[in-house]
């Protein structure tokens, strides 16, 4: 959990947090009674953001997990309405047996609907269906002054645009209505292809775009050339013969080791092994959706392996035009630094516009990396990466950020000024204070 011994952290366990007053919400009809002792509050879903968008040092957190009721589910149309603290995992448990699936899912199912909306999360199908927010039909926004807006693309449309991807700053989302996607069964027909360079990746990506609903790549960061595995898949058709065995067993990292278990050595070894995990250049398999979408969810609390200092994620998007050169530069910097990333994930976003003013995804290549926190050395490397991304017209994902400079944010999220007029006067976050400095 991101909540340990009553301390609310983010997933990266960095930055360390100070004092936050916790208010646990249970009743979506209740007004927000924000005590005068805390100046500012912020919704907190399941703490799966890596950096500081879900933290509020010196203020209050409105923990939404107690808002976990379903409100309506139409099995015929696949329209689901639920409170904002429901986990995507709980939605899947309910709807998959009835032939429906999430329209968009991030790489973990342990996030709340409200959190998914507020970060306007993306999944492996971005190239075909856009972000999570593209499938939000409506939601209710509760402001600190007690006012409630029912928002959709047609009603209170400005609040709709501000709140999707709005990082929890416009008020509390109490419930969300989603359009689900039909499936015939829980299986995914998947394929894994090895690539040896970024150019090959781009080629595979282009070729697969129309044929595969889901595509994503893992890339070997220790090797600089941009080699990796391209993974793609589709929901299996109704009559697929194979019925794979599924293990729902979960392991847990039982405690936080005193030092990070991720070092240069374990990292290179892991990457080299993973790259060769399959013998053939191309393999196909029918799998259950869980290991396909959520390979990390099988190891609960895996973030502990980085030790008490935590780790930093870095996710950027760069335009397609000239994008490969930028990625080469980024990978070069990382390889040269020797502090490569275990889980480097690469994907090509499509060009469906995101509904949120501050939504991160836009047409281009997106690369996500994580780095053990070695202090100054790590921060300096990330700053070098910023320079590359920034010059190339790219930007960073706030959900994974704990350190980008304010002027970088404001330069790359051009709607921030329009957005800031919609920030609830009683809401704020560590992230927001940092990028507004």
């Amino acid at each position: 959990m991101a909540v340990e011994g009553g301390v609310y952290r983010s997933w990266g366990r960095y930055p360390a947090v100070g004092n936050q007053r916790i208010f646990r919400l249970h009743d979506r009809f209740a007004a927000l009674s924000i005590s005068t002792e805390v100046q500012r509050v912020l919704p907190y879903g399941h703490g799966r953001s890596y950096g500081d968008v879900c933290l509020n040092d010196g203020g209050g957190l409105l923990h939404t997990r107690g808002l976990d009721r379903f409100i309506a589910f139409d099995v015929v149309t696949g329209v689901l309405r639920c409170e904002a603290g429901v986990l995507l995992a709980e939605i899947l448990d309910l709807v998959v047996p009835r032939g429906w699936f999430l329209p968009v899912t991030p790489g973990t199912r342990f996030v709340t609907v409200g959190g998914a909306l507020a970060n306007d999360v993306h999944g492996k199908n971005h190239h075909l269906v856009g972000t999570f927010g593209c499938h939000v039909r409506r939601f209710e926004l509760l402001r600190s002054d007690g006012e409630r807006f029912e928002c959709s693309p047609h009603e209170s449309a400005d609040w709709f645009g501000a709140t999707i991807g709005g990082l929890g700053l416009t008020g509390l989302v109490t419930w969300v209505e989603l359009q689900l996607r039909r499936i015939a069964n829980p299986w995914i027909a998947g394929e894994v292809v090895r690539f040896h360079s970024l150019e090959e990746f781009a080629e595979l990506s282009r070729a697969a775009d129309g044929d595969y609903e889901y595509t994503v790549s893992w890339i070997d960061c220790a090797a600089a050339v941009g080699r990796g595995l391209f993974m793609c898949g589709n929901h299996a058709p109704a009559l697929s013969a194979e019925r794979p065995q599924v293990s729902h067993k979960k392991l847990r990292v039982p405690f936080t080791p005193p030092v990070s278990l991720i070092s240069g050595l374990t990292l290179r070894a892991f990457n080299a092994l993973y790259y060769r995990k399959q013998l053939a250049e191309r393999t196909t398999a029918i799998t259950h959706y869980e290991p396909f979408f959520y390979p990390l969810d099988g190891l609960l609390e895996w973030n502990r392996i980085y030790g008490p200092r935590g780790f930093l994620q870095y996710q950027c998007v760069v335009p397609v035009e000239g994008g490969l050169d930028l990625l080469h530069e980024v990978l070069g910097q990382i390889a040269a630094s020797g502090s490569g990333s275990v889980l480097a994930v690469l994907k090509q976003f499509g060009d469906i516009p995101s509904p949120g003013w501050l939504s991160f995804p836009r047409s281009g290549f997106t690369l996500a990396l994580d780095f053990p926190n070695y202090g100054e050395r790590t921060l300096q490397l990330l700053e070098r990466l910023d320079v590359i991304v920034r010059t190339g017209g790219g930007r960073l994902y706030p959900a994974k950020d704990a350190r980008m400079a304010g002027d970088f944010f404001r330069q790359s999220y051009t709607d921030w000024e329009r957005f800031s007029a919609y920030v609830d006067p009683q809401f704020s976050s560590d992230f927001w204070r940092r990028v507004m400095e």
Partner: protein
């Protein structure tokens, strides 16, 4: 499909238990104080698979209303198989010490109202000769402690009453279950700092459903509380008097 009546249905423990009933397709009738919250819970349980569901608002201290409410539940469900009584308030011990009114009110909510409901229900279950009456008491009822003996004595009343009722009704094939949770992380205990002894409502719910199925008599939830309370009860009075629990 069981026909289940839940009293105090907005309680976190009751709601978690109701979700387990709903997932099994049971029919549920919910009684609680606040209509809006009851309705939100009822809709949720319906989506989760409850077969039929209705709710009504009642303050458990309105003893005169009990009988008719139970009638309506029985009529709506077409009978009753299982009743879970879950309401409660964690008394403000310090305030009670200065107020007779408040002390008696706490004993009424946590003890007398339960006795009244069970008296009403016992008659009906005795007649029908089957079913389960599951009642949430507390480890706090096992021995009075200076920090919460008002709440504790009301729960002791519930534990003792259900013990006697169990003896009486077991002869008629009716199962009476006394549930004694330890520390549970719910709105009732929001103000307490949480440590390793604390359990989540869903873990308690799992224990309740299991105890109903196995027709257990008295369950401590989680189970290690049986040992803790055995020790607490075993401490000799001269020693206990000097402690400040």
């Amino acid at each position: 499909m069981r026909k289940v009546l839940i009293i105090g249905a907005t309680s976190a423990i009751a709601e978690a238990t109701a979700r387990r009933f709903a997932a099994e397709g049971d029919a549920l009738y919910l009684i609680g104080r606040r209509t809006e919250r009851l309705e939100a819970i009822a809709t949720d349980l319906k989506v989760r698979g409850a077969h039929a569901i209705a709710c009504e608002a009642m303050d458990v201290n309105d003893v005169a209303a009990h009988s008719a409410a139970i009638d309506r539940a029985q009529a709506a469900l077409g009978g009753l198989d299982t009743v879970l009584i879950a309401h409660g308030t964690l008394s403000d011990q310090a305030a009670c010490q200065h107020s007779v009114t408040q002390t008696l009110a706490e004993i009424s909510t946590n003890g007398l109202s339960v006795v009244a409901l069970l008296t009403e229900l016992a008659e009906r279950f005795e007649d029908q000769g089957h079913g389960t009456l599951a009642v949430i008491s507390s480890v706090a009822g096992d021995r009075g402690r200076q920090s919460n003996y008002v709440y504790g004595c009301a729960k002791a009343m519930v534990s003792t009453f259900t013990s006697g009722l169990r003896q009486r009704l077991s002869k008629r094939g009716v199962h009476v279950l006394t549930i004694k949770p330890g520390f549970v992380d719910t709105p009732m205990t929001a103000a307490f700092p949480k440590g390793p002894l604390w359990a989540q409502p869903d873990a308690i719910a799992a224990g309740i459903v299991d105890a109903i199925r196995k027709q257990r008599s008295v369950v401590y939830l989680p189970r290690f509380w049986r040992l803790i309370m055995w020790i607490v009860r075993a401490v000799p009075e001269p020693l206990f008097r000097r402690a400040s629990l």
